[in-house]
Amino acid sequence: MIRLALPKGRNLTPTLAAFRTAGVPLSGLEDNGRKLWMELPGEGLGKEGERLEVLILKDKDLPLYVEYGIADLGVVGSDVLEESGAELLVPLRLTEGLSRLSLIGYPGALPEPGAQVRIATKYPRIARRLIAERPWGAEVVELSGSIELAPMLELAEVALDIVQTGRTLEENGLTELETVTGVAPCVVVNRASFQRHRPEINALLQRMEDAGVAA
């Protein structure tokens, strides 16, 4: 039986929509209340009577569960995936649920060459790689949420965080100083599971591509 890891939070809605459009309805998921581990009919997986186990995980933890083989495949944001450094197959990116990872701060706060600043983020690995490529230096301050508050309260000059609509920034007088990279929910697959369930996984990926929900 294939075990699928689904992300809590902002990526859950586009993920469920993508699976449903691709003909994998994940029927019964809504009726399972606060359950974190459930078994559903595996409709759309290509095998008659096939069942599917579903885990509901925090985005940040999901790569680890798939890498360690607890789940065969899952969907996770490319931001979290890159930050995790997990060794996973990444066959597809969803076409919905897109956002961007950006440097944010007050207008004009983008560091000048040679400047030394503080950068607040949930993504310390990505931030360190970014700083290595820039003409300015920064101390990385790792936070777990409400990253926008850091420049507002002068904990850091800039923040590196996800921007979806930009409304939160606007409402707080902040601005997107620079887009660092585009972010999309990604289908990730465990290397060993891909060898084991290759026909089913390939069929699912093909259905998602054909339905135009992933590329």
């Binding site: 078994e39 890498e67 083989g69 060794e87 996973l88 066959p91 290397r191 290759r198 390939n202 990926l205």
Partner: protein
């Protein structure tokens, strides 16, 4: 300092039964290797760092534990047995090419050697990744062609089958995945990658995309024949001719070897998958673009147990490693990580407790719960 049983990250002490099991596993492997004519070499755990500089990739350099000795020498802890063995033996082997001024070779070929011991590498803090781990490995030096690959793959599979036999039987009963060995060829995708580079693809990025099976990126740069996408999906193209004449010939030989070994080792599932080894490019233009080269240059293989995405053993042909050290010697080798062989040999993972929808009377609750527990089921009240 407060005394506790705490150990540094990535380091494990094996006590009592675990130590006994590890030694038992090691003894069985050593016995098989000796029966097959392999002689043991005992290698130091500390060596000069400098001789390995030309062999290091950016990734492997970052894994090395290096330090300056009290006399000023830059030393490194053993991170890999094969380059160490190659460096020690190269001066006693036939010189390769011109410009190597050295005495006549003193080591008769072929040589069948095996080693065992700890290797130490920096690894990020993640499950299944130790910083100190115990390897048993073997090398066959001086035998060219298919004969050496057949012998070493057969030895690898024998050790793997023996090491995982009890757990495999237990695991099979529990519906666990079989032991699986993925086979590939270094450089087999080079013609397709070079063709994509000529169409504008960044070779390093495309190689990574093939290895991660990124369908969109691969499709973007693939040729009309779709050979790279076929490799990403199925491991090999339906028509091996699409890989170019040399890769096609090598792939056909590998498929024949897989079939032969599959008959010989029914307990192991053998899969040919070129995408798994996409990073192992050989063409100088691709090596330059990637900024590193693996020391494998022919057959490559990895063994996976259970669901873990990290291999329990790996190996392949590495003639060019000796060539880079000035010796002209064909070589095929492999190693196993004993912690991984022991850790997940059954391949089982915890099953979801399933509520049983059986109405039970009050008097039967204990019995129902005991029965459910026995069968790994949960009880919903």
């Amino acid at each position: 300092m407060k005394i506790s049983a705490d150990l540094p990250q990535g380091v494990t002490a094996l006590l009592f039964d675990t130590a006994r099991r590890r030694r038992g596993l090691e003894a069985g492997m050593v016995s098989t290797l000796e029966e097959r004519g392999f002689a043991e070499v005992v290698l130091p755990i500390v060596d000069y760092a400098e001789p390995y500089e030309p062999l290091l990739t950016p990734a492997s350099r970052g894994e090395l534990y290096r330090f300056v000795d009290r006399d000023g020498e830059l030393l490194a802890l053993r991170a890999d047995f094969t380059p160490l063995l190659a460096r020690l033996l190269a001066p006693s082997l036939p010189a390769g090419g011109a410009g190597h001024d050295r005495p006549a070779p003193t080591l008769e070929l072929p040589q069948r050697l095996f080693y065992r011991g700890d290797v130490v590498r920096y690894e990020e803090e993640r499950p299944g990744r130790q910083r100190e781990f115990y390897q048993v490995g073997a090398e066959l030096l001086g035998v060219a062609g298919d004969e050496a690959e057949r012998e070493m793959l057969s030895t690898f599979l024998t050790l793997l089958e023996d090491a995982s036999a009890p757990e495999r039987e237990e695991g099979a009963a529990a519906g666990a995945p079989p032991v699986r060995v993925v086979l590939g060829l270094a450089g087999a995708l080079d013609p397709a990658l070079l063709a994509a580079a000529a169409r504008g693809a960044d070779p390093a990025a495309l190689t990574g995309a093939v290895a991660r099976r990124e369908r969109g990126e691969v499709r973007r740069w693939d040729g009309e024949d779709g050979v790279l996408l076929a490799v990403v999906e199925e491991g090999v193209p339906a028509d091996p001719d699409l890989l170019g004449p040399d890769s096609c010939r090598r792939l056909r030989r590998l498929l024949a070897l897989r079939d032969e070994m599959s008959d010989e080792f029914p307990g192991v599932e053998l899969v040919v998958d070129l995408a798994e080894f996409a990073h192992q490019v050989l063409d100088p233009a691709l090596v330059d673009a990637a900024g590193e080269r693996s020391y494998y240059d022919g057959l490559v293989f990895r063994a996976y147990l259970g669901h873990l995405a990290l291999p329990a053993g790996s190996g392949g042909r590495y003639d060019s490693l000796f060539a880079r050290l000035g010796a002209e010697v064909p070589a095929v080798g492999f190693s196993f990580g004993l912690e991984r062989l022991m850790a997940d040999a059954t391949g089982r993972r915890r099953s979801r407790p399933t509520p049983v929808g059986v109405p039970v009377g009050v008097e039967d609750r204990d019995e129902a719960e005991a029965l459910a527990q026995e069968r790994g089921l949960g009880v919903e009240r």
